[in-house]
Symmetry: C2
Subunit: 142 residues, 2 copies
Amino acid sequence: MEANAKQFKKRNAILACLQHTDLHPSAEMVHEMLREKHPDISLATVYRNLSHFKSQGLIQSLGTVNGIERFDATLSPHVHFICTSCGRILDLPEVELPLSLSRDVERSCGGQVHSCQLTFTGLCRSCRNSCQPGGESRQAIQ
Amino acid sequence: MEANAKQFKKRNAILACLQHTDLHPSAEMVHEMLREKHPDISLATVYRNLSHFKSQGLIQSLGTVNGIERFDATLSPHVHFICTSCGRILDLPEVELPLSLSRDVERSCGGQVHSCQLTFTGLCRSCRNSCQPGGESRQAIQ
DNA sequence: ATGACTGCAAAGACTTTGCATCTTT
DNA sequence: AAAGATGCAAAGTCTTTGCAGTCAT
């Protein structure tokens, strides 16, 4: 750990960044967030490490919003809400995910389920309040 | 209709293609499928019309699989299964989608829900049967 | 020395857009 | 004429990759 501290400094920072935010950031968002403490960090390094963590199962991809991939370090199953206006992705910890369905799915299609994702789409509270179409923070990720 | 038959020939063919398949095709898959009857159809036309239909609410996007956007003309809510091995997207009409959750979501986050998507990921029946890692039809979309 | 991580720039892959052409009203 | 649809090629955007340099074992 100590020994690796320097070698994995950026790698660790990237994972920590994911784990300490609820923004479900994109590669570029991570890059931006880390810039303060690591001014020389490269976007390629972010992409490479996100890919690494994903293959290690340390983070998961939530798919793309407006063509940009978003990531989540919270691995326990939970529900998401994506705002089509501002692009925000919210966790909905209070909404219960019907995990029992996995059995039904396996029975229904004969396959093997690894994960499931329940995502609601719509307008978040703030965009709904200021919702003349094209209103406030359209496209303004985060 | 008659009058528009020619002008909208390709547009109509694209929508019909979506409506008559359960492959949840990508733009390129649509293009490929239409080539037989419309040898001169351009990929740009497919993209433009998919975008058009999407904004009209005639089709929906299922998000991306391996970086490629997939579409569905079935608008009634239903559950999907995505095979991580072959990329196939299957409908699961037998699995019931808990629509009542939309209320919970709106209550929980104060937003307004437009749609929801429940997607299971794993190995489909055939990939699971032939599932030495890297087995059969890895990445072979469709 | 060998293996691993990174920055930079180039390459790649999917999608969108500008422009000229053709069709329909 | 005016509006809309299409093909082609160019441009755009996000992501991946090759290579040289650096650090740790």
